[in-house]
Amino acid sequence: MDPFIAEMLDLKPARVNAGPYQIKSAGEVEAALLRLFSARGEPERRVSNIRRMAGGASKEQFVFTTDRAGSQCEMVLRMDPRDGVLETSRVREAEVLKVARDVVPVPIVHYADYDGTLLGMPGLVTSFVNGVTKPPEAGSGVSGLGTGFNAEWRAKLAPQFVTHLAAIHRINVQDPRLEHFSVPDRDPRHPALWEVNHWSRVWEEDQQAANPLIAVTENWLRANLPECTEPVLVHGDYRTGNYLFDAETGDITAILDWELAHIGDFHQDLALSMTEIFSCHRDDGVKLCSSLMTEDDFIAAYERATARKVCRQTLQFYRVLSVWSLAIMGGATGLRAAKAQHNHQDILLTWLSMVVYPLSQEILTILDPEN
């Protein structure tokens, strides 16, 4: 397993027996931000108009106005709750945002409190980026699921979606700024194995109800580990709902939600976009990956943009891995957090856990297509 993720998971049990998480008031958030600014040598920076941001199933997010020496702007505070649907690191998120900024639009990290001594919980303060995750006329479910685009929007967004993914996959994984990332290059099967080991451990520690299908799927994954000789920076949650775009021009203004970024196989980002829950169907019934384009179009465009060859068998492995890990996040970790009242959105985490059943259906459709 990725050594940093293993260390992070080692620290998790210390929080399990903590009491319910208290939702932060605007006043508490303001006091926390002022502590952070003061510690960073900006005691004169002011905070106002703090608003909670909707969406997201893993972090507490606030947008606020800040001014210093007459210069005013909006920023975003992205902070860990005690527990959520995911166990991730603000250190790694900050590192990857700094590196990714060279090649794709992302929020700028202005301040960080990695251990939570100033904010109360680990968090990042970033620039506020204008944009929307769905067209004004579209509907979608919680956490950006089920967002639909018409043909005009798809024509604007799909090419950018591929171009940005190709740019992310060209990032040098040996960049010294990626200090807390490890490259799984000792064995060509390690990129896949590290991921299986990661989510297997999460299931073992967080499961709330047994599910024999999770174990059968894990056996299948371990028996079908693909080789990867050219690890790339994998975004880890690259899909519609996790980027912002200009509601008028359609230009993508920011790629968001980098917390699952790691170094691994490029097929993983393609596969996640192809999962049913992050897709929608055209009027003729054809599935659109990430609600944007057909699988064949997505693969062809990615191959053109990267000069890489997509291996359908490897893609199949990562589709199973993606759906299996999503089932573990929703059905195990999220539910454990809600049960312990460790989140500001327990009711959302409980609702999201119901996604396990469509995900299980997708696993079965791949592993057992004849039935």
């Binding site: 047994a210 024999p212 299908l213 059968v216 959105q345 009711i347 959302l348 609702w351 079965l364």
Partner: protein, 175 residues
């Protein structure tokens, strides 16, 4: 017993929809989203509460049938896990939901044990039976939670009452 659970749930849903939600500041997006989810959960509870025991019993019966077809063969881990599964199935239980969970946990443990020291033939049989059971169970669970809105094919799912009557064991039987 009066007021009934149905009346209490319906009253809560109406209160949320007609009084509480309209009173929430629309700029408080977290409160708006959580109020909607509260209505969603209450609607699901209204649909589920009378049916939870018969639903769990259908699931449990199918899991026990699946387990009864297994012919465990392998080393001590497989044999031990098989005994644990037999014990879980044989246990008397007044709560079918809890017994289902206990048996599912034992079956999952058997899958993991067989991967370590089960014979190839038993591994193959176990995988086939668990996949077949999971195909039936996932249809039931998708029907149970169809109102969640996550299922892109919810219109082709059986109703919960059809699931409980045992009339439907596969998606094909509903279409």
């Amino acid at each position: 017993m009066t007021p009934s659970i149905d009346i209490r749930l319906a009253s809560m849903i109406r209160s949320m929809q007609d009084v509480i939600v309209p009173a929430i500041d629309p700029s408080n997006s977290l409160a708006c989203e959580q109020a909607s989810l509260m209505i969603g959960h209450l609607n699901l509870l209204e649909q589920h509460w009378r049916r939870i025991f018969p639903y769990a019993q259908v699931c449990l019966d199918d899991l026990c049938t699946c387990a009864s077809t297994l012919e465990p063969d392998g080393g001590p881990r497989t044999q031990g896990a098989a005994v644990d599964l037999d014990t879980a199935i044989a246990r008397d239980a007044t709560d079918p939901e809890k017994k289902y969970q206990d048996c599912a946990r034992a079956l999952e443990a058997l899958v993991r044990a067989a991967a370590e020291d089960g014979t190839p033939a038993f591994q193959h049989q176990l995988e086939s039976e668990v996949l077949a059971f999971s195909q039936r169970q996932v249809i039931r669970d998708r029907a149970w939670f169809a109102q969640s809105g996550f299922d892109i094919d919810s219109e082709n799912l059986p109703s919960i009452d059809e699931v409980i009557s045992g009339a439907v064991n596969s998606l094909e039987q509903t279409t």
